[in-house]
Amino acid sequence: MLIDERFEVETPEGAMLSLSLAGPVTRAMAYGIDLTLRLLIFAILAFVLSLLGKMGIGLLLIIGFALEWFYPTLFEALRHGQTPGKKAMGIAVVHANGSPLSFNGSLIRNLLRTADAFPLFYLLGFITTLISPRYQRLGDMAANTLVVHIEKTETSRKQHNGPTNPPDWPLSSQDQLALLAFHERQDQFSEARQQELAQLAFPELSPPQALQRLRSVTRYLIEGAQ
């Protein structure tokens, strides 16, 4: 999960949704993927349709037009705010209240693309994205949309075996979060680093003992006393 750039939205049910905003680089890469894909489709069709003579060229012009203007809109409206490029980058367009993108919203933000692309290479869009607190380009501002990361996370179903031990100090909610985060992420650290972190909690113990103790405390937090 990304820690930065979170944007909170309250749903009608009173739950706070936390959206993680996508920055210009991710979006530019998604755009690059889409552009490549579009060029590829166009090139293949150009090859096939050129066999049809002038009529083929006419059709090709229409398809080129559709790829330029309606490719993003159609994908975003039908595929939950995701073009193939956005899907590959794990981002999606949503309305600023977190609701799914409507056809009109998508059309506004994509029609105004030209203004964002002004004068070259999306310079204006890039600048507005940096200035805007919610990473919106001009089209996003007009359509009131956001580009957010869509995270697919699975809760880990690790086996929690071993002794459990209640913490020997009054636990604040901040402490609890920190301990649980350690429990979930400990596999990402080397043994030495884990021991080093554990010593922050139990400076009086030797490193291996501190780690063992810390693990038993986090197990207690998750499973309770056994």
């Binding site: 959206l19 949503v94 609701s99 506004i108 029609l111 204006l124 809760t155 649980l180 998750i222 309770g224």
Partner: protein, 330 residues
């Protein structure tokens, strides 16, 4: 309740919600695999409650994140807005589009004036001083134009005579790509404080005016006007409307009135969008007429009458379409 028990207790609910969401997010699901969705809303409410609990009890960030994402997915499905399309399109063309145009008549008037005045200015200049045409078009393009619209009695014959069905399709594609692209860019250009939209109006206006003036000088005007009159109605009107919609956007940033600039822009974009749907339809129509009717060799009287009818019908539609009888002004 400890986190492990919490997860154990509600895991079946979350799994079933995930399955329902997978189905809702898929474009199509075969009948056999369809799950009943009548529990979806109730499940979603419970999920919201569990997310709030997980935060209150400071369960692990990973679990909070998982629940948050699940709520997000369900929220997107629950508040999705997909009314039937065909009805809306019918209502839009019967009343929505002309009403949207009339609602913003001031912007369309400004856009039309800048277009018409630049046509008139360039036209008069070129007719008075024929060499002025070279400020607008270069020589190669000019000779193409003269060839295309040479007087019918001259030796070269009619350029359209050898045209076949294939050329019509080619030109249809070209007009769609070119004209609709211009209209969309004009609209977007309006966002740059209106400058982009005004520029397109002035540029295209003086271009059109200069060529019309020049062809009168060279005697090719009948070929030219019989060609443009019919599709000119939807095409020129659509470009003017796109310019007007663009100006509306630009002005909302220059003078937002009682709104913040951001809100003013949002409102303006929402207001201008119906006009752009209409512009798109008008330009499709124009491309169709331009490719399949305009190049046909018919008697000039016939072409002028059909052209006049196009203009009259279009403006009757825009001025009176969708007005409620007895509703009074507005």
């Amino acid at each position: 309740m400890k986190q492990a028990r919490f997860e154990q207790q509600y895991r079946p609910l979350w799994d079933s919600l995930e399955q329902q969401l997978d189905q809702l997010e898929a474009l199509r699901v075969s009948r056999k695999k369809r799950l009943p969705l009548d529990r979806f809303v109730a499940d979603y409410r419970q999920l919201c409650h569990q997310l709030a609990l997980a935060r209150e009890r400071t369960y692990s960030l990973e679990l909070q994140q998982y629940l948050n994402n699940l709520v997000l997915r369900a929220h997107r499905q629950l508040y999705r807005y997909n009314p039937p399309l065909a009805d809306r399109i019918g209502v839009f063309f019967a009343s929505g589009f002309p009403a949207a145009v009339r609602r913003q008549w001031k912007w369309h008037l400004v856009s039309a004036l800048s277009f018409v005045l630049s046509i008139a200015l360039a036209w008069i200049l070129v007719q008075q001083q024929p060499e002025m045409i070279y400020t607008v078009v270069d020589e190669a393009m000019l000779s193409d134009l003269e060839l295309m619209y040479q007087p019918a009695d001259s030796a070269g014959g009619d350029i359209h005579a050898g045209r076949e069905g294939e050329d019509d399709v080619l030109m249809f594609g070209f007009y769609i790509k070119n004209n609709i692209g211009i209209a969309f860019r004009t609209f977007a250009g309006g966002l740059l404080l209106g400058v982009g939209a005004i520029f397109v109006m002035l540029f295209n206006g003086s271009f059109f005016g200069a060529i019309a003036g020049h062809l009168i000088n060279t005697g090719g005007h009948e070929a030219f006007f019989t060609f443009v009159i019919a599709h000119g109605a939807p095409e020129l009107t659509a470009i003017v409307l796109a310019g007007g919609a663009g100006l509306r956007l630009g002005w909302s940033i220059i003078a937002p009135g009682q709104w913040s600039r951001l809100d003013a822009l949002r409102l303006a974009a929402r207001d201008a969008l119906p006009t752009m749907y209409g512009v798109f339809a008008l330009l499709l129509l124009a491309a169709f007429i331009e490719a399949f009717w305009s190049p046909r060799d018919f008697d000039a009287t016939l072409k002028y009458s059909v052209g006049a009818a196009c203009w009259a019908l279009l403006y009757l539609y825009l001025f009176f379409g969708g007005r409620q009888r007895g509703a009074g002004k507005g």
